[in-house]
């Protein structure tokens, strides 16, 4: 049944969610990720000037973000450019409850409408 398949997905998704939560729970790492979201592609050097930590420390955070699929790197000459992968956040949106809420609200409107309608 549909409801069962939904539960199956939930349990497999939660592992993915846990990994994302662990990756983004670190405030410095999250700040780096948010900066990439806001500013677009950046080099390690530029990220370091804003992060308030050493370049090796920034690089370590970028490795973790990359492993989680949250950033992608692109090599150009000696520089490595990093960009955010917003699609990787998708599992964090509890889609099914959002859509359930959507239909619940619509059914509220529907009931209001039915009360106003004549036979």
């Amino acid at each position: 049944m549909a409801i069962n398949s939904q539960r199956v997905i939930y349990s497999s998704m939660s592992k993915v969610q846990d990994a994302l939560f662990r990756t983004l729970a670190d405030p410095t790492r999250r700040a780096i990720f948010e900066r990439l979201c806001r500013e677009g592609e950046q080099t390690v050097g530029v990220l370091t000037t804003h992060a308030g930590i050493s370049q090796p420390a920034v690089s370590k955070h970028l490795v973790v973000l990359k492993q989680a699929g949250l950033v992608r790197d692109r090599h150009e000459g000696r520089q490595t450019h990093y960009s955010a992968q917003l699609g990787a956040l998708a599992p964090l949106i509890d889609w099914t409850s959002q859509m359930t809420n959507f239909w619940q609200r619509r059914f509220d409107h529907l009931e209001d409408l039915l009360k106003r309608m004549d036979q």
């Binding site: 409801i3 998704m13 939560f21 959002q98």
Partner: protein, 143 residues
């Protein structure tokens, strides 16, 4: 095989199926509870649902069984595949002693398309705001 997600919402409504059917199939009534539309209750009819947030859903009527069952596609085209969506919405009306059991089942989302509805509606800024809340909630529940 591609796994898909489904959402089911059911509600007991103290009105007969015939009346609910009108609200599900007459465009000016659909607009009042769902979205602006050019719906016609004919199998194969293609129509659009226009959301308040500016999104347009492409739909096609698949099943029309008056007062019993209405099925249509609920698709959202987006150049970014992660936001695109192909789903089916299935309304079922079952008479009860006090009125009607109305059930809607929406299915067809793939797991990687979880953001199709929410992501299209929310910009990434709101998204990051939400993320903060989610993280807070998560760390609380982990304690």
């Amino acid at each position: 095989m591609t796994e898909t997600l489904a959402v089911v919402v059911e509600r007991d409504i103290p009105f007969p199926p015939e009346k609910i059917w009108r609200a599900l199939t007459q465009p000016h009534l659909i607009e009042e509870w769902l979205m602006k539309n050019d719906f016609v209750p004919n199998v194969g009819h293609r129509f659009k649902l226009r959301g308040e947030w500016g999104g347009v859903l492409d739909c096609e009527v698949l099943v029309v069984e008056p007062n019993k069952s209405l099925v249509y596609t609920w698709n959202y085209e987006h150049q970014d595949a992660a936001y695109s969506l192909q789903s089916t919405v299935n309304f079922t009306l079952t008479p009860t002693r006090t009125g009607t059991l109305l059930r809607v089942e929406q299915e067809g989302f793939r797991p990687e398309q979880k953001q199709a509805y929410g992501g299209a509606k929310l910009g990434w800024k709101e998204f990051l705001g939400k993320l903060e809340q989610v993280l807070t909630k998560h760390s609380e529940s982990a304690v």
